[in-house]
Every structure is written in C-alpha cells, then in structure tokens.
Subunit: 405 residues, 2 copies
C-alpha cells in the first residue's frame, strides 16, 4: 500500500464534496456538502465490508471488530470552517481509515476492536456551538444548548439536523460502550514543529481558554484645545493596558499566551481625544491556577493603570474553558513507536481546542500533531508536506498495532 | 441698548435659517441655508443704512465709513460643521454687527472705517478645503485647489458657487484695500477659561498643526498556537508607539499636544494576533522648531520600537500648517480695555485654527476668546453663559472705540 498515494487520493475525494467557489473547503454541519461527504465515507466502508453505523445525530462509525469487546476509537471531525483548508479535521479521519485498511490486510483481525469515527462537528462555524460531534459520541451533549440555535440564514439547528435524516436521542450512544481509548491525529496549526524541524508533536495538555471583553471609558475632547494634563484619553490608557496584558503573560509562564487582537475606538476621529475603547483579551494556558493568578493580577494592574490615567474600565469574562491533560501511558506507547522508527518527536501543548479534550476526561486519550507549513490554518492555503502526513499515518498504524494486536 | 437681548435675538434669527432636524445647526458653504443667512444679514444691514457688498465669491461686508480711508475689519465665518453649535463662527459676526450699531448710535462717525465681514467659509465641512472665505478676502486663495473638488453628493465646488450667484474672480478684492487690522471674537472651544474662571482669553499665538498617518505591519497568527516569543504583534507594537507619542509631547513642552484619536486594526479578531494597525497623529504647538524636533525624535523612537518589536512601520505627513503670531500692540490695546473695565483675562494660545491666522501675516490681527461651557464645541450642546458672551461684545466695542475714534 502506497501511503502517500492513499492519503492524496482520499483527501481529494473528500474535498470534491466541499470545494468552495471562493476557495478552500466549506463543509458546515448538516449541509448538503456535509451529508454527501459522510454518506460517501459510509458507502465506501460498507463496500469494503466494515461494520458501519451512524449514531442518532450523524456521527459516522466504521468498525474493524476484534476478538475482545474492548474498543479503541480513532478519528476527528469532518466539518470545516468557512473556506477552510483540506487537513483540519478530515486528515484525522483519513488517517484512521487508511490505518484500518492497512492493519486489516496486513495483520488480520485485531484483539481489540478498532473503530474510526467521523465526528459530525467541532468548529461551531454554522451554529454557535462547538464539539457537537464528540459530545454526542461521549453522551455529554446538552440538547437545551442547541435546540433554539439558528444559523445566519435563520435555519434552526433541530430542523437542519432533521433535514439530514438525524434527530437527537436521549438514549445512551451504545457505540461508545467499551471504548477504552481515543486517538486523534491533527495538524498542529502552529509553527513550532516546522521551526524546530520535528516530524511529530505528542500533546501532553490542551490549554484552558479564558476570554474577556474590556471597555475603557474616558472623555472625548478637542485634540487642539485640550492640554495633555486635562485629558482622560481612553486610547492612551488602553495602550498601557494592552502592554500589561502581554507583559504579565510572559512573566507568569513561557507557555502562557495572552492576546489583544480586537479593538474598537470611539469616536475614532484623528482630531478628537478618544472617549471610549473596547478590546478583547484571549488568555490560554495549561494550568488552572496560573490562569486564575493571571486574572487576579491583571485586574490589579488595570485598577492601578485606570486610576492613574483617570479613566474607568469594566471587564467581562465571556469564555472560560478548563485545561485538559492527555493520557501518559498512551503517550509513552506512541513515544516508543517514534523512537523505534527513528521519527523525531516533541512533547508539546495544544494552544487550540480539539475533540480529544472531550474524550480525555472519560477514556485514555492521545493527540498527535503533524507540522503545518507556516503555521497557517483555517485558510485555503493550509498545508502539510506529504512526507509529514505519511509519518503521521505511520505513527498511527504502528501505535494501533501495539495497542490492538 | 440691552446687549444680552441683542445677542440672543440676533443669534436666534441666524439659527432659524440653519436648524438641523437631527439637532444643532448645519450651514454648509453655498447651500440654501447658507445663502438665506447671508442674504438676511445683507438686507438687515441695508435697511439700517450701512454700505453693504458681497465680494465675488460670497463674503459679505457691512461698512460704517470713517473720516479716513483706513479700515478696521471685524468678523468671523458664517458656515458651521454638520450639526454644529450656535456660536462657532457666527458669534464673531454678531459681535461685530452689535458693536457697529452701538458705536454708530453712541459715537457717530468714526475716524477709521469699521467693516464687519461675514466670511463665507472656514470649516471645510462641505468641501475638503478650509479658510475659503478669509483666503479670498485677503487675495490669497488658489482657485486650482478648489475647482475640481466635489461634496459627498458629487456636486462640484464651482457649480455650487455659481448656483448661489457667485463666481471666482482673478481681480484683487478692493474691499481689503486699506485694511490695517482684523479683530475676531470666537468661543474658546476648550476648557481653560472655564476651569480657571477667567472671562476673556487674549490669543498670542495660533498653533501650527502637523498630522501623520502611521501604518504598522506585523504578522497575523493564531492566538492559541503562537508562543509570545514568535509573535510580530502589530497591536502590541502600536500600543507602545501610542504611549511614546504622548510622552514625547509632554517632555518637549507643556503647551504641546499630540493625539492618537483614530486607530484601525486588521483583521481585528479576538483570537488572531494583529497583522496590521493604522493610526493617526495630530501634533500641535506654537513653535516651528519644537514641532520639527518632535517629528525628528518621534521617528527615532519609532525606529527603535519597531525594530525591538520585529514589525515594520511607515509614517506619512498629510497636513503641515505653520504656527502664527498675533499682533502685540493690538493685544496691548485690548488688555488695557480689560484692565480698565475690571474684566479678567488671560494670554493664551489657540490650539484650534481660526480665520485670524489667515489675516495675521498681512495685517495687525487680534483673536479674542470667550469661555466654552465644558469646552464642548462642534456639537449641538456647544454653549457659553450669556454674561460671558456680553463681556466679549463689550471688549470688542471698547477696543473699537479706542482704535477707530
């Protein structure tokens, strides 16, 4: 089996159902493109003689039965962001399916059952809700959180689901019974592996994320007739706050990241001292107490700076996701595989969220990264060298061989 | 003559031609509102027996002839910004007209001719060109700069002028012959007089203004997967630059003002490190060499900061107005008037531009401020206590008495 050719042809097939005329792939939950892709995977697997099932909401499971009941689950999400790339999500499914074919033909029936899942949704790009797929696989979805959601066309979540032939069920998902572990292969979506010329990233932790919106209230004044010492300049004050947001993250931990990426100024006129500034803070780290320490200390800093600048500020938290630890024994197994095959690897954290974080609290979970060219993702130019994709699949095959046979 | 009642009734009359349904006054150059107001002033003055003339472009002159040829010119601009206040500009015209009536009735014919001018335009609110009125009065307008301008409705400058019955003429404006001095009364548009509880501001200098647009180029990156030390954050870099803009102005002079009031961030997304930031710098001071020093030093600071932050920047100057000194002997005359009538005054600079700066290089020029409540201007709530307006008119009357009789 030529892995490179397998990877390229399977990705091409999946892409063909979701090519966006504006560039890249757009495959949003419960759309025609989405349903056609899932059905393609289903039919292909059926033709190869696998056990194939949808759960009630449309996660697709393709199973190679083992001699024991224990199940190793492998996969990632099939949905994309709008005009996304050809690897984010679906590469994890393709890797699993190639591994399944490879092991079935080369090794025959495994001891443990191997099940590949094409998770319905992770990105939250059509409806403002993420991890719908993995939360249903693991029986941790909450229907109240989605039943009233609508997309930007006004289509209701439940209607969209029904139109694809699926419907939420309160019954437990029996396809998760006996699952002892979950393996996900994904692109890094960052530049660390590329910059350090490393083939594989073995994720030890997925960061927790806190997001805040900050409003700074000053006093609008004439830029010519208001002496500097009479001013309450919301933009000058905010500039000092932005610097502090960055400094504090660096001072607490080399792996903490804090970002001000969005800012709005009012009235935003060149000859008027700014009245009000609104900006966001995106804070991520793997350690809860460090995240809490940051929140505590940044508020103290903001209090002091706003007093000194004679402005008022308010700070609202609108996201608070806990960090997740991945399984150490599974990590060790994969590490041994890399060593044995002379594959360079690095233990690292994931600064982005992944389906693995939904499984990790429930079953042994591993997340394996392959490098991203230029760290570019959520973009049509998202890409990874075919040799690196091949290495990712090899690591998955060899790990499954050790775990399931 | 009851000055307070005169001031209020005349302002009300002028307002009636330009009330904006959305609030405040809107009287833009060469509009119906503008023409009706000028014609009202013209007809009223004719009915009172003054010599009344328009120049070719629509500045209106109302003259009380003296026994000598020498002319003292008094006035300000009749146009407003969109939804402006009831004092910016027209109060200077009303003051002049009240003074004219008062002196004519109480003192009879002056030695020197007193001429009040209602200048066509100063704000640049309809067409992107300022001081059209005073530049034509003083024969310093440049027709090439306006003939191709259009307003936001696509109306051409020359057509708008013709539709009001005016047209540019290359001939010198004979109404400026023999003018030896210009007096302008205006609201401060700042908070200094109010905060210091002073009745009159005597302007010694009008600031020079430099304006720059700055573009800072960084690298867009994922806020979760990009460690702090790999970032080229255009917004963090800009925040440091904004602080330096403010610090440097304070360090050079207590009367220098530098303002960043406008800023745009790209892509402006909470979870993306900023790729590019654009902002403006509005710099004002009365001393040319200090302005040049600021420009030199801020560039050195920006070079150092952008290098240290690993971003690129470019800086473009799009406005460069020289500072103007007002006439000292005229200032002394008005100072003596204030002292004699126990009117509190303060010598100050003007941080905003005024018609006086166009006259100052050519004739003895004085600019007199009355307080602005809360420093608010270019706003429907622009206001000044009636007692302060009365004091402004008194100072003008007494000064003209000394200068013209």
């Amino acid at each position: 089996m030529n892995l490179k050719r397998e990877i390229e042809s399977r990705l091409e097939q999946l892409n063909s159902y979701a090519l966006d005329p504006k560039g890249g792939l757009t495959r949003l939950l419960y759309t025609k493109e989405w349903k056609e892709t899932q059905d393609h995977l289903r039919n292909e697997a059926l033709s190869k003689g696998y056990d194939v099932q949808y759960d009630s909401i449309g996660n697709l499971y393709i199973t190679l039965p083992g001699s024991s009941e224990e199940v190793i689950l492998v996969g990632s999400h099939i949905d994309t962001v709008c005009q996304g790339g050809k690897l984010d999500g679906q590469f994890g499914i393709v890797s699993g399916l190639i591994a399944l074919d490879y092991l079935k033909s080369k090794e025959g029936q495994p001891k443990k059952t191997i099940r590949v899942v094409s998770l319905a949704e992770e990105e939250g790009s059509r409806f403002p809700y993420t991890f719908w797929g993995s939360k249903n696989t693991t029986n941790s979805a909450n229907i109240e959180e989605v039943e009233h959601l609508v997309d930007n066309q006004g289509v209701n979540f439940m209607d969209a689901m029904r139109n694809c032939g699926f419907s939420y069920s309160k019954e437990k998902n029996h396809l998760f019974n006996n699952v002892s572990s979950f393996l996900e292969v994904h692109i890094e979506q960052g530049q660390i592996l590329e910059k350090e010329k490393i083939q594989i990233g073995l994720v030890t932790d997925i960061v927790g994320q806190k997001r805040y919106s900050v409003t700074v209230q000053g006093q609008a004044n004439h830029a010519g007739t208001t002496p500097m010492h009479y001013r309450q300049d919301a933009l000058l004050a905010s500039s000092i706050l932005v610097q502090k947001v960055n400094e504090l993250a660096r001072s607490i931990s080399s792996t903490m990241v804090a970002t001000v990426g969005k800012m709005e100024i009012f009235p935003n006129s060149s000859n008027v001292v700014a009245q009000e500034v609104q900006f966001t803070i995106d804070l991520r780290h793997t350690n809860v107490s460090e995240l809490e320490r940051y929140e505590r200390e940044i508020k103290e800093e903001f209090d002091a700076i706003s007093t000194q600048q004679d402005v008022k500020y308010s700070m609202k938290k609108y996201m608070d996701g806990k960090p997740v630890k991945l399984d150490e024994s599974l990590l060790k197994t994969i590490k041994d595989v890399c060593r044995k095959h002379n594959i360079s690897y690095k233990e690292m954290i994931s600064g982005a969220g992944h389906d693995a974080q939904i499984f990790a609290p429930l079953v042994q979970t591993a997340l394996v990264f392959v490098p991203s060219i230029g760290g570019i993702s959520h973009n049509p130019s998202e890409n990874t060298a075919i040799e690196d994709l091949e290495t990712g699949v090899k690591v998955l095959i060899e790990s499954l061989k050790k775990l399931a046979y």
